[in-house]
Symmetry: C2
Subunit: 450 residues, 2 copies
């Protein structure tokens, strides 16, 4: 009898959860604001790299959106952020043996130093990986520009895996080349498609070595340059970049909160990062994650759901070139005397959701996995080990279960950090469906804890 009652109660619980999630889905597809908010963020705010006027406006506007979504309280967390500026558009040319030249489609890597005012002109040496670079040694590299022509492996089904492998040339390539005496670096764009759009992204200088100018070249440009080098027709490369790192400036994380009714000190964090590269509108990276997080607040309020635990939507500042916002959030969390039970980040694009990735304890994972059938109607079928997000990573020492939304990854790397990452590349329904599964996960944790 007892068993039967428990069974009946757990069935009705599951039914009621699936009904609430259906209400969440209906509300989002009928009256969702994420898409129109994203349009505002992309078209009225635009690029918002840390320290830029766009970033300051984005702070102001997402605070407004959170208030309009009905958050109980909206506040800012001050933090100092790096302030890197690109300056005038970059110029590059391959200077040929026959006295002619062709243009190189380049952009400076984020955080990179610029060239002298006259640019740099030097012979170029092409490598496809670090092993080839090291084999060249100082005698092969000194005084030259190193061209890393590593092609992202198109065979991985998940494009983040290919990105992870290829990303080391952008992050470590300049310093590894500088260690051998190189004067500049050109990195093939991290994209699986051939086109004319160079993708930027942060590089990281190793303090041991000289900081040398570094640019990304479009994939088509990399192929063209490599072909010309194979024909031995290139004499030198010239490029000029105008970027520099200025003094740190004050910026903010933006937080909107619904206070929990029963366990207000158990905090659920849901967020994305508010900063975006300067080349585009930062639609998928990560306007969508921010707008989805605001929408999680809105849908709870619109449906009159009163969560037992506190829900915080957080717009993290400075994910792209410093992670100061994510670190600041965790630093403050450590002083709050609250339990940060779960953090969910959406920073893999606003594409149709495939599922989630989890970095959590066995007990946390077991509970989360018990909810998996509730996500089936919404196509979030893949519950995978490992995941989270750069901004929520610093919460891990607090025992927080980290969850990353995993949208379909096929289109992300085509436009990531490129000027094609614009509002028009986002599908309203895909964005909404991602929000539905985020809101469902937040709802379940808010009701049952972890």
């Amino acid at each position: 009898m007892f068993c039967l009652l428990v069974l009946a109660s757990s069935i009705s619980l599951a039914q009621s959860d699936s009904m609430v999630i259906k209400q969440i889905s209906d509300e989002i597809f009928m009256h969702g604001q994420a898409y129109s908010n994203l349009k505002y963020l992309c078209k009225k705010v635009g690029p918002r790299l840390s320290g830029s006027p766009g970033a300051a406006l984005a702070v102001e506007q997402t605070a407004r959106m959170l208030r309009e979504a009905g958050a109980d309280s909206v506040y800012l967390q001050p933090c100092m952020v790096p302030h890197w500026v690109r300056g005038d558009k970059e110029v590059g040319r391959a200077l040929l043996q026959n006295g002619t030249s062709f243009p190189l489609n380049i952009v400076a890597l984020g955080n990179a130093v610029g060239t002298p005012a006259a640019g740099i002109t030097a012979p170029v040496v092409e490598v496809t990986n670090f092993k080839e670079l090291d084999a060249l040694g100082k005698e092969g590299v000194k005084g030259k520009i190193v061209f890393y022509n590593y092609r992202m492996d198109p065979r991985y089904i998940n494009t983040f895996r290919a990105y992870g492998e290829a990303g080391v040339y952008r992050s470590q390539g300049p310093s590894r080349a500088a260690a051998l005496g190189a004067v500049g670096v050109i990195v093939r764009t991290l994209s699986p498609v051939l086109d004319d759009h160079p993708h930027t992204g942060a590089t990281r200088y190793d303090e041991q070595f000289p900081q040398i100018p570094a640019v990304a070249i479009s994939t088509n440009g990399a192929v063209q340059l490599s072909d010309a080098l194979a024909k031995k027709s290139v004499k030198q490369i010239y490029f000029k970049t105008n970027c520099k790192m200025l003094e740190d400036v004050l910026s903010y994380n933006v937080v909107g909160e619904i206070k929990g009714t029963e366990f207000p000190n158990e905090i659920i964090t849901v967020g994305g990062h508010l900063d975006s590269w300067d080349l585009a509108e930062g639609a998928h990276d990560d306007g969508t994650g921010c707008m989805q997080s605001i929408e999680v607040i809105r849908v709870m309020k619109a449906l009159g759901i009163r969560p037992k635990r506190t829900i915080r939507a957080v717009m993290f500042m400075n994910e792209e070139n410093g992670l100061r916002g994510g670190n600041k959030y965790a630093e403050i969390a450590k002083t709050e005397n609250k339990k940060f039970i779960m953090a969910l980040e959406s920073d893999a694009g606003g594409f149709t959701p495939r599922g989630f990735g989890f970095s959590a304890t066995a007990a946390q994972k077991e509970r989360i996995l018990s909810w998996k059938p509730l996500f089936h109607p919404y196509g979030a079928l893949e519950f995978n080990e490992g995941g989270g997000g750069a901004d929520i990573g610093p919460l891990r020492p607090l025992g927080t279960a980290l969850i990353g939304l995993n949208p379909d990854s096929q289109r992300y790397m085509d436009l990531h950090h490129a000027k094609t990452d614009v509002f028009e590349a986002v599908s309203e329904r895909e964005l909404n469906l991602g929000t539905v599964v985020m809101a469902a996960m937040v709802y379940l944790v808010s009701q049952y804890g972890l």
Copy 2:
């Protein structure tokens, strides 16, 4: 002992199948031709409605692509097809009580009759469904233009479900209105998004009733018209269409075949439809399905896979407004004295694959379901009851297992039958991933039968 041997053998079988499928995937992602073929089809051939010069060129060019893919034989199946032409661009205006007017963003529905040369001008009556239409009766409808303002339900996660419900107004709406004496019909575009692109698509006249002109209006246009009607500011609607149905013309299905080594008389059909609406390039509908089917042939040949059963890639003609090609294929099949064991159609867009839908016997389904784990690495996790495709439907009486590729449906209805269905809306990786799972399914059936 026997059991152990069987187990070992089935494990090695599964391992070898998963390795072959990985090779298929690698080949497609490294050297795939579907995307470049699609570019040709969209940009060099373009719209290819049955009977049009584009359709004739598409027959010629896909036969070439199949030969270049390495098909053992390529041939055409002649069939007569309807020849509907749109004529000059349609014009529509809402004529207001105050003497002014505003333009209506309309296109004629496919297969519809045109208006008289002077167009039609009549009062308009708005309904949201057939129940409201019938309630108006003859006295409310006679001499008027009926405006079906049925909004596609955005709450269904699968957009095909919403399309199915809304589609009756396009297909049956004109005749149901004509039965009550209407002189014309305006149907709200079948799209979940608000924009300015009217979507065409076939209507079907019931022979009992007069054939009246019928158009689709963009979703934004429908909202504007409905608002104006609510304010009682509209006096009459004027529209002029120039379409007509001409005599049937000769066209073709295009077939490319790899002959099976062991069971050449067991036929596996994989296809899409070659015709497309005249407003756009028919990229997702259904250039992608055709190019994927050709790629299935190419990848088998490129990898030196010699299938035990015969594989036929079929470009079906006239799915959009007659299904003559699909019917012809089945009609010929009945005379071939072969076993048509399986047919797989891709006609739901070239988006990232979610899985398959099956219309098959219990035994066929059981075998197919045993392969499901092989599709897991490629994200095709949903194996659902029901499915197939319009063109392969006529094979059902032959006992053929029908399988439909089910891509993610979120973006399809945004551009379906609209001028936005262009090459640029297709993602190379999504297209390729769909091809991978199609080729894997075809490979498995070719090796093991059904």
